[in-house]
């Protein structure tokens, strides 16, 4: 199993080559290579503190890289002009780990921020579209006029997803979307991501720890250890992998219980 795939670059949403990112003397990502295909949901797993979020933030340009090449939709992000960057930023949406909603704005206004910045829509349509997005992510209509401080953790995640989807992006980064949610909300969230991916043709880059999400929504999984992607493939391939870290991750007690439950439910 190789991190490389033979696919031509126009089939790829994200292509990362020989990426090095470090803080101080510590090298977090070392010669990392990763491909994300268009239209797939890629689950990105790794131990805590191994740099999963760092990779996402590097692709987004929030963290400086030391070396390497990051291409999104076939375009090298270093070569892009300022306008090119702005155009690229319209094509992706980001759900930050803690939501990162603007605290001074209501949920509705939060969702409208990218619309206001990039588009010239009539206020009525903008309101309607924002409320539609809020409904799509499963929030009640009343939530639209609330401030982030009045929302629960799950609602913040949903509102943040609504904002990430405001411009109907082609690529969505989700940083631990289901962490801190109860199992029912988490399952609904997974379902939502799947629906959106199928209807909008989204490419989803999902950093997650949630084994349930990996099973239910991810087309492929990539695993990060020692600053590198040690394996990519479908969940079945990951289960069959030999790497010791993968074996502990996917065959640990919690994972085994889940696999067992799934085998029983499909068998019955």
């Amino acid at each position: 199993m190789s991190a490389h795939s033979p696919l031509p670059s126009h089939e790829l949403a994200i292509r990362v080559r020989a990426l090095q990112v470090g803080f101080g003397t510590r090298l977090v990502l070392n010669n990392l290579e990763l491909d994300v295909r268009r239209g797939e949901v890629l689950g990105f797993v790794g131990g805590s503190g191994t740099g999963k979020s760092v990779l996402a933030r590097t692709i987004l340009g929030l963290v400086q890289k030391r070396a390497g090449r990051v291409e999104v939709f076939g375009e090298d992000l270093d070569q892009l002009s300022k306008e090119g960057h702005r155009a690229m930023e319209r094509r992706w949406g980001v759900l930050f780990q803690h939501g990162a909603l603007f605290s001074g704005l209501t949920v509705l206004q939060n969702v409208q921020v990218p619309m206001r910045e990039y588009l010239s829509l009539s206020p009525i349509l903008m309101d309607e579209l924002a409320r539609l997005k809020i409904a799509l992510v499963g929030l009640k209509p009343e939530a639209a006029d609330k401030y982030p401080s009045e929302l629960s953790g799950g609602m913040i995640k949903r509102a943040a997803l609504a904002r990430a989807l405001a411009l109907d992006p082609e690529l969505v980064f989700l940083d631990e979307p289901t962490s801190g949610l109860d199992p029912i909300s988490a399952a609904e969230f997974d379902e939502l991501i799947k629906t959106l991916q199928q209807t909008l043709g989204l490419t989803v880059f999902m950093v997650t720890h949630d084994l349930d999400s990996l099973y239910s929504v991810c087309d492929r999984v990539a695993a990060l250890a020692d600053g590198k992607v040690i394996a990519t493939g479908t969940i079945e391939q990951m289960l069959a992998a030999e790497h010791p870290w993968l074996r502990t991750y996917f065959h640990g007690t919690r994972a085994s219980r889940l696999t067992l439950a799934r085998a029983q439910s499909t068998g019955a």
């Binding site: 319209r90 605290s103 001074g104 619309m115 990039y118 588009l119 010239s120 829509l121 009539s122 349509l125 309101d127 309607e128 579209l129 409320r131 539609l132 997005k133 409904a135 799509l136 209509p141 982030p148 401080s149 989807l165 411009l167 109907d168 629906t195 199928q198 209807t199 909008l200 043709g201």
Partner: protein
């Protein structure tokens, strides 16, 4: 990107529209095209909309198409969407039109709202006072408990805070008081020269600085520097539930966190006031000698005539009271922080503003008190 467009035609039974191009949110003509389409279709009875030629569709496009379908339906027309690809069909289903009955915000009269604002602010101030008194009681009872059981006194914490409030605040407080001493001397000499009484500027410096300015400026500086630090520290501990953690371990946050800071301020502020006195008089002396051409002897002679021990004590007596006011307000604001970072910011601002305000009010009360007892 190909802009959204439509063609109009007729079939045997219906008016037929064929949609084409990209019906996506980033297409600038999206909204206008949808409006045109709706206007063209408005009065027909039977309408067929063919979605087969659409290149790209997103939620905004789907919403507009479905909104139009509902609008025509409401007019009594009958609309069929045909030829949609499977993924577009799912999208139309997901982003189907739904009216959002948004209640417009209640518009009250401006005057009533202003009056209500004023009333609320006054009521808030009253509540603040009430809370302040009850908090003072709490702190005092914790203090008494500690005095009865001194082993529980957190002396390390007290010393640490004295260091951070007094020692680290010393340079800036000495400097501003030196400068204010200079300014008072310069203005005093300049104004009094016209009456040929320039040497009385020394009386002015001595009395004004020792009685009022040194303690007032030190308190204001400490309120801004240390009061805000207390609020921020306690507030962030409150935010991260550290205060709750202390409580469930059976520790009293007032005893552990507030009392050491209060004691530290009670020690620090009088010390700082003394340094401020000296710095301001030094500043006054420097200006008197260089700008007013007094000799050192004249300056000290006048100073000894002008001030007595009580002039110095009036300033110093006020310092612990200022410390109490600052510590109470900043600790109370710190513990009033709610879960969010915005509330921390608000409370730190409120803490500094209220502390400075109360410091000045207390100074005014003391001025009246000392005048009444002729001290």
């Amino acid at each position: 990107m190909i802009e959204p467009s439509f063609t109009q035609g007729t079939t045997a039974q219906a008016l037929r529209f064929g949609l084409g191009g990209c019906w996506v949110i980033s297409a600038p003509a999206l909204e206008a095209t949808a409006t045109q389409l709706e206007a063209a279709a408005r009065n027909a009875q039977h309408i067929e909309i063919d979605l087969g030629e659409i290149i790209a569709l997103d939620t905004a496009g789907a919403w507009l198409i479905d909104r139009m379908r509902c609008a025509i339906k409401a007019h009594g027309g009958d609309v069929r969407l045909v030829g949609a690809r499977r993924e577009h069909d799912i999208l139309l289903g997901a982003a189907h039109y739904r009216p959002f009955d948004v209640k417009p915000p209640v518009q009250g009269s401006l005057l009533v709202e202003r009056l209500a604002d004023v009333g609320e602010t006054v009521a808030d101030a009253g509540r603040d006072l009430y809370r302040g008194v009850s908090f003072l009681g709490e702190v005092m009872s914790a203090l008494v408990r500690l005095i009865l059981n001194p082993a529980r006194m957190r002396s390390t914490s007290v010393v640490y805070h004295i260091d951070s409030f007094a020692l680290r605040g010393l340079p800036i407080i000495a400097l501003i008081n030196f400068l204010v001493g200079c300014i008072v001397a310069q203005q005093g000499i300049f104004q009094l020269q016209r009456f040929g009484a320039a040497t009385f500027a020394v009386d002015l410096i001595g009395i004004l600085v020792l009685r009022e300015l040194a303690v007032l400026l030190s308190s204001i500086m400490v309120a801004g520097r240390s009061g805000s630090a207390i609020t921020a520290e306690l507030g962030s501990m409150k935010m991260r539930e550290e205060i709750g953690a202390l409580r469930v371990m059976g520790l009293d946050p007032i005893e552990v966190l507030v009392v050491p800071r209060l004691l530290a301020l009670l020690v620090a502020l009088p010390l700082l006031t003394f340094v401020a006195d000296m710095a301001a008089i030094l500043g006054g002396m420097v200006v008197s000698i260089t700008y007013g051409d007094f000799s050192m002897d004249v300056f000290f002679d006048r100073l000894q005539n002008a001030i007595k021990l009580n002039t110095f004590l009036v300033g110093l007596i006020k310092a612990p009271f200022m410390a109490l006011v600052i510590a109470m307000i900043s600790a109370m604001e710190g513990l009033a922080v709610k879960g969010s970072a915005e509330s921390l910011g608000r409370c730190v601002t409120a803490s500094v503003v209220k502390s400075i305000f109360m410091v000045i009010v207390v100074d005014g009360l003391f001025a009246m008190f000392f005048a009444a007892i002729q001290y």
